[in-house]
Amino acid sequence: MTETTKPNGAWDVFMSELNALAEDQADRRALSGVDMLMLAPENWGKSAQIARSHDARWAGVWADDLSGRFRVDCCFECQGRYLILRTAVAAEHPELPSHAPFYPAADRAERHVRDMFGIRFIGHPLQEQRWTRHLAWADDEFPLRKDFPAQGFPQASTPPDKDYPFLKAEGPSVYEIPVGPIHAGIIEPGHFRFQAVGETVLHLEERLGYVHKGIEKIAEGRDPVSLAKLAGRISGDTTASHAWAACRAMEAAAGLSCSERADYMRGILAERERVINHLGDMASMCNDVGFAFGYYQFGRLRELWLRDNRTLFAHRLMMDCIVPGGVAVDLKFDDCAAMKETIATLRAELSDLIKIIDANSSLEDRFLAAGVFSPAQAQALGALGFVGRASGQVFDVRKAPGYPPYDRLDLTVPVETDGDVAARFWLRYKELRTACRLLEQMLEQMPEGAVLADWRTPEAGAEGFAAVEGWRGEILCYVRFDQGNRIARYYPRDPSQINWPALEKIQIGNIVPDFPVCNKSVNGSYSGQDL
């Protein structure tokens, strides 16, 4: 792990160059502890160019309708620190220079903002191509504008979006395979368009947005408890971490801190979430190459932890355990002792299994060198979580300063560099072991005390930003409050929104039958990306 947490030379140079662009030095301010700079719209594109030259990571963009103008925020991470750039455009002429020419990750995110607010990003290579919008609302309707009602103006039946302009590959023997939105297994919907020659994939294009449920819109007007509940349903497999991100952002806006015990409890819930999901993914990756033994063994371990979750937290997936001000669950002394035992058991079982898997040449044959995502590609995309860390990217929010309880724990972040399916499998295995160690530390160190603080209503206009390391990687969250404890704006950025394009890259040159295992090795959330 490189030194990513302290301010240092590179960050200072980066900041001073951007500062020179800022509207006025007095406009430099902080949003819940994160640095923020105000820019004039015409400097928006230039700022991305500067950020790129400093290898800053582009982490997300979101907008807000402030009657008469749209405010746009963009989040960068450099040397483990976050910076938010902010600008505003007039509602009559909502245009901004695009960041997509400098950052591929900005491509879909900007199109999402365009579809939802009608802000045009000039210089975007796919400026006119819709992303989140299919045909459920008209070209001139923008659901996240405040004058658009949450109920919208839907037709009785929404037609399929059949004219999406997919890239076409042509030539002798090139054929096209359309897959989805409904897939063959028990899996979320999305569309994949393959161009192949024989067995080999020349090109893959994703078309997502099928499970867009209007989460950002229906968040508006909620109170904090109800927002946390919604956040826990952005992506069911990430329920604890999304609720955590939303609660941390709301708490930042309210100027509220949790008790130390609540921070530990949240950490325990998040690490348990990592364990059940990594076990599930490892099971599925084995299944996708026909290795039934691994599928059943990892699935068995997962089920045991799900049952423990139900016993300890009254919910197998730990939904609604993290609430504004703390947590709604607590662990008794005996519970902690029991959990320590199950951790020891899991570790022993994993050691057994991994020896068997390591010695299995057929598994090796399918995993090794399949679906390679090079460190350079991962860096260019700003890939997150196990997708990034299996391709040499060291970033992990848990190393950021002021992120309890991790700032009190001893954590080594595992990193691999091969970037293939095998690396993503091994990285999950190592992360499982890390999670076991973290859980043990937390159970050992967790102080006594209350787990829920009294809520404090934030002022109208109060904003909060938070970053949390979910099991898939960094989750970002932005909230703005209205009067009366109501949410005016909520934007959650699931790591899938960044990572999905990785799948398009890694599939090139691989055979069509390897798609399921390549897909599972990345395992993006459809719901988390579509919102």
Partner: protein, 171 residues
């Protein structure tokens, strides 16, 4: 390879009465009832096509769990099929997002009669946390005729089995 066999043997058969779940052997009871009902009404084989029409993916995780070694739902005659053309039952999860409405209707049309629709999970049953909006049609019954619902967010594997059993009773 030897290690693999040793591990498999020492793990043993876990699929069983599973009194583990609830002391009253609920899973076994429900499972046997299911098996009997499927035996009588579907010649011992019930084919289910699952369709995620807009779920948060929580419901899928628990439907997946039905196939793990503890529940092993196939032993009761239930299997999940890849095509609606092979299905007796469509098990639909999530509120129906407007972007999935056409695909869901097509899958329904592709399912041969007689067919039944089970709306599984609170979202599918009543709209759940998302309800109806510019982006969501809400409950499945707003889009398709629904024969039965299974409550829960998400329904646990055991609740899913009980829900399917209740469905079979009313068919």
């Amino acid at each position: 390879m030897l290690r693999l066999y040793l591990k498999a043997l020492s793990t043993g058969v876990l699929t069983e009465p599973v009194p583990y779940i609830d002391k009253d052997r609920l899973l076994e009871t429900v499972g046997l009832e299911l098996k009997t009902a499927i035996g009588r009404k579907f010649s011992r084989s019930l084919a289910i096509r699952h369709i995620d029409a807009g779920s948060c993916n929580g419901c899928e995780l628990e439907i997946h769990a039905l196939n793990n070694v503890y529940y092993d739902i196939e032993r009761f005659g239930i299997h999940f099929v890849a095509s609606p053309r092979h299905a007796d039952v469509l098990l639909v999860t999530g509120p129906v997002s407007r972007h999935m409405q056409a695909a869901l209707l097509r899958a329904y049309d592709a399912t041969p009669a007689p067919k039944w629709v089970v709306a599984s999970g609170d979202c599918a049953a009543c709209g759940g946390e998302f309800g109806a909006s510019y982006a969501s049609c809400g409950a499945v019954k707003n889009v398709l005729p629904v024969d039965a619902t299974i409550a829960g967010c998400p329904p646990s594997p055991l609740q899913l089995m009980q829900g399917l059993l209740n469905t079979l009773k009313v068919l």
